[in-house]
């Protein structure tokens, strides 16, 4: 990948930030843009910041269902905001590691 994000901060093979402290709002917008979300609305930010907050306080990012139950944004809307994998995409935009997915 030779895009603008990976040229400025260190990311893993799938484009997730390696160091969450390098994140800022401007970077989030650039990651979103590259992922095909041209504009981050208030609803996007609510989810991204919820994810980030949860990761920074608990060490793990919430699953899509916990996200739906706790963020106040219903799962269906999460998919509209962040197509395909909302938890994954919101984590990427929020500058935290890919959710591990409990196994």
């Amino acid at each position: 990948m030779t895009d603008v994000v990976t040229e400025t901060v260190a990311v893993d093979a799938e484009g997730f930030l390696l160091d969450p402290s390098q994140w800022d709002h401007e970077l989030a917008e650039r990651i979103a843009h590259e992922a095909g979300i041209p504009l981050l609305t208030d609803r996007h930010w609510l989810v991204v910041e919820f994810m980030r907050e949860r990761f920074l306080t608990s060490g793990t990012a919430p699953s899509i269902r916990s996200l739906g139950k706790e963020s106040g944004v219903p799962v269906k809307e999460l998919y509209e905001l962040f197509p395909k994998g909302p938890a994954k995409l919101a984590a990427k935009i929020g500058g935290i590691p890919k959710p591990r997915g409990c196994i």
Partner: protein, 418 residues
């Protein structure tokens, strides 16, 4: 005063920890109580075999009470709630149990009704599950009269119990339909919210290869949002659809309902947050969590519960004595994966190390890791005997300790975690 130990749940974890503690603690020092709503202990790994006629329901159910050692009091009652501030468990029958140490071992609960349409018209006819006994029996009847078409197995969302079971189900379905001579007119599809058939990359690659060889399609990143059980359509949240003639679903999972009724105990899905290495609940120092009831990033599987129990008995003894807990659990899991035609794979992993090829439990084997063999299949079958006669009574298994062995594993170049 004798200490009061109350264990919620008389399944794999609750039975094992009760029996292990009864061996460790003198009757004059501690009373042990186990609470469960019924007296039927299901050997859950057996549920996979029921739909294919490879196990009968009565072979995999035994009375819970009979699995508990003498000196353990069994209460057949529903838990109303836990009152953490008063160290008490309220039972639906009106009884109260006061505890010095509480163990939450109440497992995971199936929530098919949380997916719109899943339990509506067509449930039990064209839509079924094998994740509980009633469903497994129903799935057997539906498979018996299945005459070709599209069989879809769907994981609604993680976390689920035994994440390899849906993969095993499609492998066995492939075998079963070939035996019946209708495989050539059946499509088998595995739909999963994950980005591969399994969460761990190396095992996922091996399993994807096997699925391909058997002609089983995998639909990844598919999060089921709605089921039409009459029309036979499964729709994802992002609007993709999969048509089915028979849908075998793995429904959403949550923790026990009483967890949700107990202030401060659980998370949004009613699982109980706990320290990943000591198993102490985040809520209170005198509460511990075991098995599927936890929110830990380990598999919800009997092997994990067993390895946890081997640490938890010591930690409860330490807690009773006011000593520091041992941060000894490493997330160890060990699972046979039935692949059909009397073969199975074996995987062995923990929080940090994903499943890799090699041998288990030592470099000499005898069991091959991530490789199909008949010996692994026999191991899986023999395991039921071990379960009732060694694991539940609280005996340690020779050669299989709580921590993951590394001796036989091909670990070179493997990235951490997964």
């Amino acid at each position: 005063m004798r200490k009061q130990i109350v264990i919620l749940g008389g399944g794999t974890g609750g039975t094992m920890i009760a029996n292990r503690l009864r061996k460790r603690l003198a009757s004059s020092d501690a009373d042990i109580h186990v609470v469960d709503r019924d007296n039927r202990h299901v050997y859950q790994p057996g549920l996979l075999f029921v739909p294919f006629g490879l196990a009968d329901p009565d072979e995999i159910v035994r009375p819970r009470r009979r699995q508990l050692h003498r000196g353990i009091e069994f209460h057949e009652d529903e838990v109303e709630s836990v009152v953490l501030d008063r160290d008490r468990v309220l039972l639906a029958g009106g009884h109260e149990l006061a505890y010095d140490v509480l163990v939450v071992a109440s497992g995971a609960r199936l929530l098919p009704e949380e997916t719109p349409g899943m339990t509506g018209p067509g449930w039990g006819e064209r839509v079924s599950t094998f994740y509980d006994l009633e469903g497994a029996v129903r799935t057997r009847e539906l498979l018996d009269r299945f005459d070709g078409g599209r069989l879809v197995v769907d994981i609604t969302d993680m976390p689920i119990k035994c994440p390899v079971a849906p993969i095993e189900f499609v492998f066995l379905a492939d075998w079963y339909l070939r035996e019946r001579g209708i495989r050539d007119r059946t499509e088998i599809v595995l739909a999963t919210p994950l980005d591969g058939c399994f969460t761990k990359p190396i095992a996922s690659k091996h399993l994807t290869h096997l699925l391909g060889e058997k002609g089983i399609d995998v639909e990844v990143e598919f999060s089921a949002g709605e089921v039409d059980g009459i029309g036979g359509v499964l729709t994802s949240y992002d609007g993709r659809t999969i048509d089915f003639d028979l849908l075998v679903t793995v429904p959403l999972h949550g923790g026990a309902a009483f967890v949700g009724r107990s202030v401060g105990l659980g998370d949004a899905l009613d699982f109980v947050p706990a320290d990943p290495h000591t198993l102490q609940a985040t809520a209170r120092p005198n509460v511990f969590v075991l098995g599927d009831a936890t929110d830990l990033p380990s598999s919800k599987a009997g092997s994990v519960t067993h390895f946890e129990a081997e640490l938890l008995d010591r930690n409860i003894e330490r807690a009773l004595a006011g000593r520091e807990l041992e941060a000894g659990f490493d997330g160890h899991a060990n699972c046979f994966i039935e692949t059909g035609f009397h073969k199975a794979l074996l995987i062995d992993f923990n929080y940090e190390t994903e499943p890799v090829p090699g041998r288990f439990p030592t470099a000499l084997g005898p069991l091959p890791l991530l490789h199909e063999s008949q010996l692994n299949h026999l191991g899986k079958l023999f395991f039921q005997w071990i379960y009732w006669h060694a694991l539940l009574p609280g005996r340690d298994l020779p050669l299989v300790g709580p921590n993951m062995p590394t001796a036989g594993k091909q670990l070179a170049g493997v990235a951490e975690g997964g």
